[in-house]
Symmetry: C2
Subunit: 531 residues, 2 copies
């Protein structure tokens, strides 16, 4: 049929071209750990990204080659994203908090050819250099790093460079999951998938980004690409504020001085900031939008920000989802809801944005009703969901593209998602599920409990029954009876643990998550009372 | 390279699926001309669209076939969009205000197979039936239209229907330009282009749509698809309010009763609404966002809404651009601007949203600087810009995809677009351009002028010089000298018309635009004084 619209490939270099052309003077601010500042703007990022691209061409980097970073949030890190992606390479952001073995595994698995790192991580790089199998070029980001440094590298180029054309389904970014079991798995984001993700991210019900926004992503650039925010910020011409420190006093000063309107990060960041401004009797300036993810935010935390006029939005996501899965957007009836109903809503994980579908299924894979009660495995599919992990021979999804998240959830009638547990941590008792997370949250309500872990232990009649392990709070007499009392008023009777043990400490991963695999291994032959 | 994200075709039926699944109860309100109401919701639209799709399959409609409507804004019209598009057909919205010959030309050129029309246009349909060459099925939208009507058509189907799969570059919608010269030309929107347009439309700097928005598109569904709003509303789960009447009292009542937050339309609508609420001392309820396009809004009109707390945004577009070209979004420095600077900004046509590029070129096609002074032909390219008109053998764009809009404009240093004239109306005097629009606006400042038209007339030395035609205001003595005085303080001296004539009336198109082609024809041998 003759007649058509123009073809316009969804390529990410268009984002930085647009930002430079239409929002060139809009600032990109970096606040270093020592308190000093460095300022550039979208036009400057664009120019330096093209200079880096010229350097990469001189390195012999070809389309699809991987280019790694080991760095905090700063302007040069951003330049390296757009330079590498624009040149057709794949930006691979390595998490510097991982253990040595994981960093080595990831870099070798990704077959990175270049690594640019912060001086702060120089010791790691020097230590691991002999074990990196494919990295040919090591470059330090810091401006005073001399001849082999980033500034010296791009100094030889003028930025007079035209991005090569490419397919919109070509890869652009590689992020590894930080799984608690097995080796990390790589998710290879495409130009197209990340572009669609950015469009949705900019909408009012997700991050609500505009040319008037000033965005401070506390989330690291190496964590699912700071939740994709730098791309969406370029799309909308938002100002970006990047900080190498997450201390509450530093974040607060930036929020005030840089007139930050939007931020994102994990609950612990928001808790410490809230405590800081309450203690010091400070306000939050123009901050009006916080996206909170990583784990569930407590009700009091949400209320604290709500009372200060900040829209505090739960965001649930995964590296496999680029990472946005659901957002606790405000529903149509918001203005008519009372305070408690609002908090109930904001405590859930929110709604599927356009482009994504959510469902919960039972063990046989049958879709369960959206009734707020039917708990099952959470599955996702959509425009920015993984199809197969990097270098995996096997697809990660079923024949209808459903990806199993490993989470246990219910979906309410209005479409709101509520996570209840990780699938591998749920305790299966007599064909019914007991949420380990709910048991742990109930246990720490007891004054004598500092931390708690609930695991399922073999039981001949019920298959599994809960065993609760508690770390006592210093200075308070530990009492299993008191813990049992605290639980009794908070969970169903049949959920009560068959035994409560006090232990000196619980095992954790490098990023601070409970290592339940190790606990299950340790207690796998444990005999519950009466068995 | 192994590893990828899911493929997710950008198909418009996903919009209505999403709206029904995630925002099913959100209302779609129709207010009929007689004051009665009809209410459905996204779930109802979804169900009826699938019932219509079943009926179209029974009609033998195949993917790509054209399905026409001749109708006002109402819920059934919306059903017909999603039903036809979902079934793989192309929705062709005919403008009922066109002349008979144009309607016949368009329907035959489009090769429409079905026409659904409002009873209000039955006389037109009956009159033109013998001249429609391809329409096999005529269906009346009105619920009381009996056996051959829309309700009877879908009554036989249950909606148990799965949309057929299709390519994202397949056509979805056909809109004809209402050009002032020559035959109307068809622009064939694709699923993909319209989807990308919808993503951008939802962002805060364009329409800012969310689940909390209640949108009243005053713009007709047959006018570039109500500027694409119904698609973006489905994407975001906004409420839609559709009215068959545009009387200010009706619109105001809807704004209050239906808690409308967003609206769009042409300046005359907003002028009459503003006058109405000022006269009646009424407020505008929750309305906070008006998008105004079609022609330039006067400063006093913009100020009137700004003072009432409504964000009044200029939107410049064309059927060829799906239709969004530029939007007077609020820039980063907005809050620090004074009132006059804000109004200066809002009077311009605004900025290119991500996905579109604007430039002005001289007669040789050289790009001109963004300096607010260099006036040239406005060109556009991007993700939702026409490549070639429907059934045209020739492309409508140059080798770099630039589409010539036919407008004359300057672009300011901040990227703001300012239209100065239509290219064919500009007066070319001694190699320089005189804006006919600016002359006309200056002329109507004279108390004796009701309407004015400026055209270029042959001049042996300057090629063209301006001739100004004025319709006198009743009861005031017409005076060319007074008009000349009014002009002298408003335009450059060399712009002053060589002659000012008073005429009884000026010719107009069916939609009220000045018909300058006719004036130029009428005065083509006119001898200016001194020639």
């Amino acid at each position: 049929m003759l007649g058509a619209m123009q073809d316009w490939p969804l390529r990410l270099e268009r984002l930085i071209d647009h930002a430079a052309r239409e929002h060139g003077p809009r600032e990109i601010v970096t606040r270093w750990a020592d308190g000093s500042f460095e300022r550039t703007n979208w036009a400057g990022i664009h120019r330096d990204a093209r200079r880096l691209a010229q350097a990469l061409v001189a390195f012999g980097i070809k389309p699809g080659d991987r280019f790694a970073t080991l760095a905090a949030n700063h302007g040069r890190h951003l330049v390296s994203w757009f330079g590498a992606i624009g040149a057709g390479a794949v930006i691979h952001t390595i998490n510097p908090r991982l253990f040595d073995d994981q960093i080595v595994y990831i870099a070798n698995h990704a077959e990175d050819r270049v690594l640019i790192y912060d001086q702060a991580f120089e010791a790691v790089v020097e230590r691991l250099k002999p074990r990196f199998e494919t990295i040919e070029h090591f470059v330090c980001f810091n401006p005073d790093s001399g001849e082999g440094g980033f500034e010296a590298l791009i100094a030889g180029y003028d930025g007079d460079y035209v991005w090569p054309e490419g397919d919109e389904r070509a890869p652009a970014m590689l992020c590894y999951t930080s799984g608690t079991t097995g080796n990390p798995k790589g998710v290879l984001y495409q130009h197209r998938s990340q572009m669609l993700h950015s469009f949705v991210q900019a909408t009012p019900d997700v991050f609500s980004l505009s040319a008037r926004a000033a965005v401070l992503p506390v989330t690291p650039l190496f964590h699912a690409g700071a939740w994709g925010l730098p791309f969406a910020a370029a799309m909308t011409g938002s100002k970006l504020v990047l900080s190498a420190s997450n201390e509450p006093a530093v974040l607060h000063q930036l929020i005030i001085d840089e007139q930050v309107t939007h931020s994102c990060g994990v609950p612990t960041i928001w808790l410490s900031l809230l405590q800081y401004v309450e203690r010091e009797r400070l306000d939050l300036g123009r901050l009006h939008h916080i996206s909170c993810g990583g784990s569930a935010a407590p009700r009091a935390l949400i209320a604290g920000y709500m009372d200060r006029g900040v829209q505090f939005t739960h965001l649930w996501g995964m590296t496999e989802l680029s990472p946005i899965g659901s957002v606790a957007a405000l529903p149509a009836e918001w203005d008519n809801m009372d305070r408690e109903a609002k908090l109930d809503l904001l405590q859930k994980q929110g709604y599927a944005a356009f482009g994504l579908e959510l469902r919960v299924v039972d063990d046989e894979g049958n879709a369960l009703p959206r009734d707020g009660k039917s708990s099952g495995q959470l599955q996702v599919r959509g425009a920015w969901v993984v199809e197969r992990y990097f270098r995996a021979e096997k697809s990660a999804v079923d024949e209808d593209n459903w990806f199993d998240t490993g989470d246990i959830a219910v979906i309410h009638a209005d479409g709101a998602l509520q996570l209840t547990d990780r699938a591998k941590d749920v305790i299966k008792s007599g064909g019914e599920w007991i949420s380990s997370v709910d048991l742990e949250n109930a246990a720490i309500a007891a004054p004598c409990v500092a931390e708690a872990a609930a695991i399922g232990v073999y039981h001949p009649k019920w298959d599994e029954r809960p065993l609760l392990l508690c770390v006592p709070k210093p200075g308070i007499e530990p009492s299993a009876d008191r813990v049992r009392e605290a639980l009794a008023s908070r969970v169903a009777k049949w959920w009560l643990p068959d035994e409560i043990l006090f232990v000196d400490e619980l095992p954790h991963t490098g990023t601070g998550k409970l290592l339940k695999t190790e606990l299950r291994e340790r207690y796998k032959d444990y005999k519950l009372p009466g068995v």
